[in-house]
């Protein structure tokens, strides 16, 4: 399929990825490795197999279907040898309980658009639209431009949820096709950033300055993560940096949540963060106050 990419999920009635009622498209593949990532199924560019042990009834259908012999039933229980798995998805297609799920469906821009256009009435009535998320969707500018063209020809606004760690030429190409950027700023200190995400943030902050200068409309999103940046010193540094951006708009503080933890188990990944309680409401309020003191239009999302 020419021009197709792996899409992991098309989430309709999505209310937290930009204004109004939206459909969010999750593309596979990311070049960061954030310890708290809540979409770990989108880290790899290729499809991955999720195995939800709790849903498995050990029926054995997958054993027959798997060409790699990755599934076995032992003593009435399902044993999955992930090292043998090539994520061909044959087991998932015979699994009737939802225990096995292949994440990543090769989808052309046209096929994608046919899904996106279904909720156009809701976008129009609510000021919503389509959001590309991931993974890192800015790694796939050609695909997004193609899909965005189709959407915008039907007056559907397009937003891009990006972590910023891509060559600026990608953004330069995307700029004319994107109505709103949702831009993550995770911390200000480059070494802290490198330790928790695998890369330092010089390119990310540079790109943000350049986007600001280029006149892009953007919302800044700051995930507030215990152990990582949930301290007032780091929040203060982020706020000070953001205040230097002349065209800044809304800044959203996103308190850490644990909803993604179950996915790690299903993927056979180790969770990079010890199970943490979300930051306290008091801390979030104090951080919010700090942002507002810097003259920033901030909210807790």
């Amino acid at each position: 399929m020419r021009g197709a990419e792996f899409v992991s999920n098309i989430q309709r009635f999505s209310l937290d990825d930009g204004p109004g009622i939206r459909t969010t498209v999750f593309l596979k593949g990311c070049n960061l490795r954030c310890a708290w990532c809540h979409n770990p199924e989108n880290l790899k560019f290729s499809p991955v197999l999720q195995f939800f042990q709790a849903s498995c009834q050990a029926c054995g259908k997958c054993v027959k279907a798997c060409p790699q012999n990755a599934h076995r039933i032992l003593d009435g229980g399902h044993v999955f040898d992930r090292d043998l798995c090539e994520a061909c998805g044959k087991c998932a297609s015979v699994c009737r309980t939802g225990a096995l799920k292949l994440v990543g469906d090769r989808t052309s821009p046209e096929a994608l658009f046919r899904e996106l256009v279904k909720d156009r009435h809701y976008y129009a009535s609510s000021g919503g639209g389509v959001t590309f998320s991931g993974g890192e969707p800015a790694l796939r500018p050609g695909y997004i431009i193609e899909a965005a063209r189709l959407c915008r020809a039907e007056h559907i606004p397009v937003a891009l949820d990006t972590a910023g760690n891509v060559p600026f030429e990608n953004y330069a190409a995307l700029l004319p096709h994107i109505d709103l950027f949702l831009y993550d700023v995770k911390c200000f200190d480059p070494s802290l950033h490198a330790r928790w995400t695998g890369v330092d943030n010089r390119l990310i902050l540079e790109n943000l300055r350049a986007l600001d200068k280029a006149g892009a409309a953007y919302i800044i999103r700051v995930p507030v993560i215990p152990q990582f940046n949930a301290d007032m010193g780091e929040q203060e540094r982020i706020a000070r940096f953001l205040a230097t951006l002349p065209n800044r708009g809304l800044i959203q503080l996103l308190p850490y949540h644990v909803y993604g933890v179950g996915k790690y188990e299903a993927l056979g990944f180790d969770y990079g963060l010890d199970r943490q309680a979300p930051p306290s409401a008091e801390f979030m309020d104090a951080a919010l106050k700090r942002y507002r003191q810097s003259g920033l239009n901030a909210e807790i999302a």
């Binding site: 989430q11 009635f13 999505s14 937290d16 109004g20 279904k118 009435h121 809701y122 009535s125 919503g128």
Partner: protein, 780 residues
């Protein structure tokens, strides 16, 4: 942001604290002997007069009660009187719960055969008996009386005395044919005044005995008000509310429980509220106390389906909400009872404060308010012959039906059809694999009546076309056959109800209800004889999403993929899919399901509704009205499902059918916009008797105010695309599961089922399971 319960005043708290004191089983059987004695004493009179005399005597003798802390006079009893209509109601049910009650349609049919002058062995008599048998097996459902919005607004502005003057005048001018009905109405009007005077005397006596000065003062005022409104129109907000309650109480003395609703209460009480505020007779706090007291009365009677409509466009096309709109939303949040059912009329111009207050109530999870789209509802009423002015003044009755307050004998629950069972019997030449339970009456399942041998009876249900399943060789033929059967069943059942209705004025007129419906006094006709201005009847379709999914599965697996034959389906259904698990898998995973925005199945739904409409529209009734079609199921999708065998959509024997036109439980996996889109492919303007779309959210959905706005935008887009009604359940799955295990811990859990709210623990297990299964659109 968890839902916040609002506190009531100390005065109202006293009423709340004593609300369980009035259990009194002894009153349940009191009505019938009094009526029967009156029938005997007036044996020479016609049926109208005899029923009116029964009403008069019952009002003179029945128990009344005021407690010293009461704000409103009126006896909020927790039981139902045994009526004179053919009706199954045990004498000794526990008044803590709603009674297991139902119409004895077999007896009703026998009465109607005589009243219509059909010979006992005539074709018509045979058809009526077969119809009654189908009703007893939940193939059809039939409910009699009620589902009416009495002219409470007219009453508070005219008074029983004013209505009596008019009735006297009409009687003086009337020809002989109209005199009995008018005399009966006059007897009822005098009885009503007399009943209120009984309360006035009670208040006087209680005031003398009461020692608390505040209570005493109020009882003295109450007595004066009662003496006035016994005949006169209401002068104050208090008197208006008081008069409405007592008239309501009296209606339940005349008829057995069915929906009596209140119309646009925030609108018609508003002038009284404003006047009293201006003149200093009333404060906001006092007005709230009066409403709270009224809400408690609604709540503890346990009568179902008492609707109050708030908001909505006025005759000038402006959104008319006011202080009382907000106050009523708060009364529901303070009491958290499952009555009254609060219905919010929605228009894009609705102010934000009404929406925010509504969200606060939605957050509590009691399923209120239900949202009704003004454009849709007004258009539906116009289509059914209402004037522009009356259509704009519509309000809700029963569950979700639109009616004209005080001018319409609506009968919206006259008939419901189990569309799933039609499909089932098509596979078996009229026989069902589910004998089912005939032991379900009202909300209760009598386990002792549950029959165990499901193949033990060879009852053959009517099929009308003469086709057989083994002769069907393409999908179009299958779909067309189903549509033909559906249309024929509709025509047969509507004809049967018309025959029952023709007998009503001769057998069971309701003269007191007639005085509260405009037109009856003027026309000198009982409401059952067509005295009202509007006289439509409702037929409601149950299980359509199962039929659409079933037909889509047949199309895919039999005719497109050729993996199975219709004979395979027949065998699997007969075996209730035991031994056919692979087929069940194929149905579940490889076939499109209604509710996911997939045209292959959504278009079948649209075609089914259009077929039904083609026969319902234009079908007349004996009162000069027409039939109108509803796409809602109350709780009957559960009861009808219990009585339906396995279906080609994978429904197992005894499982619930889909609620209303909502997707089959748990089958909608693409979120609320997809569910709404699926439904909107059907021309919903066919649903002139109302419709329901259930959407369920977990409480966390409401944590963000941006979500409140998004929900309103969802409603707005739904409205713009032709939607009619939408309702929200806000309960998490864990809570519901826990309530099944520990009902004692969740006595206060109110959920919206399908068109009504009820205590979760009072529902039958099958209904509980069905609510849990409904897809939860979690916080996304």
């Amino acid at each position: 942001m968890a839902a916040q319960k609002l506190e009531v005043s100390d005065r109202v708290k006293a009423i709340l604290d004593h609300r369980h004191d009035d259990h009194d089983r002894s009153q349940i059987p009191t009505r019938r002997p009094i009526y029967e004695a009156a029938f005997e004493n007036y044996a020479e009179e016609g049926r109208d007069i005899r029923i009116a005399m029964g009403f008069k005597r019952f009002l003179a003798e029945k128990k009344i009660l005021i407690r010293e802390h009461d704000i409103l006079a009126g006896f909020a009893y927790r039981y139902t009187y045994k009526p004179s209509f053919p009706f199954n109601l045990p004498d000794d049910y526990d008044p803590l719960y709603r009674p297991p009650a139902g119409i004895d349609t077999c007896q009703e049919a026998e009465d109607a055969i005589v009243a219509n002058g059909f010979a006992a062995d005539s074709v018509e008599a045979g058809e009526m008996r077969a119809f009654a048998k189908c009703v007893s097996k939940w193939f059809y459902k039939h409910w009699e009386t009620g589902h009416i919005i009495p002219g409470y607004e007219m009453l508070i502005n005219t008074g029983f005395g004013g209505l009596a003057n008019e009735a006297r005048q009409r009687l003086a001018e009337a020809d002989e044919s109209r005199k009995p009905a008018l005399r009966a109405m006059l007897i009822c009007l005098e009885a009503a005044s007399g009943y209120i005077l009984r309360y006035a005397d009670f208040a006087r006596d209680l005031a003398e005995k009461t020692e608390t000065p505040a209570y005493k003062a109020h009882l003295v005022e109450m007595e004066a008000s009662l003496r006035h409104i016994a005949h006169g129109p209401a002068r104050t907000f208090f008197e208006a509310v008081q008069l409405i309650w007592l008239a309501h109480e009296m209606l339940y003395a005349e008829s057995f429980p069915a929906s009596f609703s209140f119309g646009r209460m925030d609108q018609y009480l508003y002038p009284f509220y404003v006047n009293d505020l201006k003149s200093g007779k009333l404060t906001d706090a006092e007005a709230a106390d009066i409403l709270d007291a009224l809400w408690i009365k609604f709540g503890i009677t346990l009568h179902g389906y008492q609707n109050i409509t708030i908001g909505g466009l006025n005759e000038r096309g402006e959104y008319a909400s006011n202080e009382l709109t907000i106050m009523m939303l708060r009364s529901s949040r303070k009491t958290l009872f499952d009555q009254p059912l609060l219905c919010l009329r929605y228009h894009d111009s609705m102010p934000d404060d009404v929406w925010e207050e509504s969200v606060e109530l939605l957050k509590t999870g009691i399923g209120l308010p239900a949202i009704f789209i003004d454009e849709f509802c007004i258009r539906a009423k116009k289509r059914m012959g209402h004037s522009a002015e009356d259509a704009a003044n519509y309000a809700l009755v029963g569950c979700v039906e639109m009616a004209c307050p005080g001018k319409e004998y609506a009968k919206t629950e006259a008939l419901r059809i189990n569309t799933g069972k039609i499909l089932e019997i098509m596979f078996f030449n009229g026989k069902s694999n589910c004998l089912g339970s005939t032991g379900i009456i009202g909300n209760a399942v009598d386990q002792s009546l549950k029959l165990t041998d499901d193949h033990g009876e060879d009852y053959v249900y009517p099929l009308f076309t003469g086709y057989r399943i083994d002769a069907i060789d393409d999908f179009r033929a299958m779909l067309d056959w189903y549509k033909e059967e559906l249309k024929a069943h509709l025509a047969y059942a509507m004809t049967s109800i018309n025959r029952l209705d023709s007998a009503l004025p001769k057998c069971y007129p309701t003269p007191f209800l007639s005085v509260l419906i405009e037109g009856c006094i003027q026309n000198g006709k009982d409401v059952t004889a067509g005295g009202a201005k509007y006289n439509n009847s409702g037929v409601n379709l149950c299980g359509l999403p199962n039929v659409a999914d079933s037909l889509a599965a047949i199309q895919k697996l039999v005719f497109t993929d050729k993996r199975y034959t219709l004979k395979d389906f027949q065998d699997a259904m007969k075996a209730d899919y035991v031994g056919y698990e692979d087929m069940l898998d194929a149905i579940e995973h490889d076939c499109p399901k209604f509710g996911n925005d997939v045209s292959a199945v959504d278009d079948i739904m649209a075609e089914l509704v259009a077929a039904a409409e083609s026969v319902v529209n234009g079908f007349g009734n004996p009162r000069g009205g027409h039939w109108q079609m509803g796409l809602y199921s109350v709780e009957d999708h559960v009861k009808m499902g219990i009585n339906t065998g396995a279906l080609p959509d994978g429904k197992r024997k005894g499982e619930a059918l889909a609620s209303a036109v909502s997707p089959v439980q748990g089958k909608d996996v693409n979120g609320p916009t997809a569910a709404v889109n699926s439904l909107l492919k059907t021309d919903l303007s066919a649903a002139t008797n109302g419709m329901v779309l259930d959407i369920k959210f977990s409480p966390s959905f409401f944590d963000k105010t941006s979500h409140h706005r998004a929900l309103r935008m969802l409603i707005q887009a739904y409205a713009q695309q032709g939607g009619g009604e939408i309702q929200f359940n806000v309960v998490d799955r864990e809570t519901l599961l826990d309530a099944q295990i520990h009902p004692e811990r969740h006595k206060d859990l109110v959920v919206r089922v399908s068109g009504f709210s009820a205590y979760f623990t009072s529902l039958i297990r099958e209904t509980q399971d069905e609510i849990i299964k409904r897809t939860e659109h979690a916080g996304v």
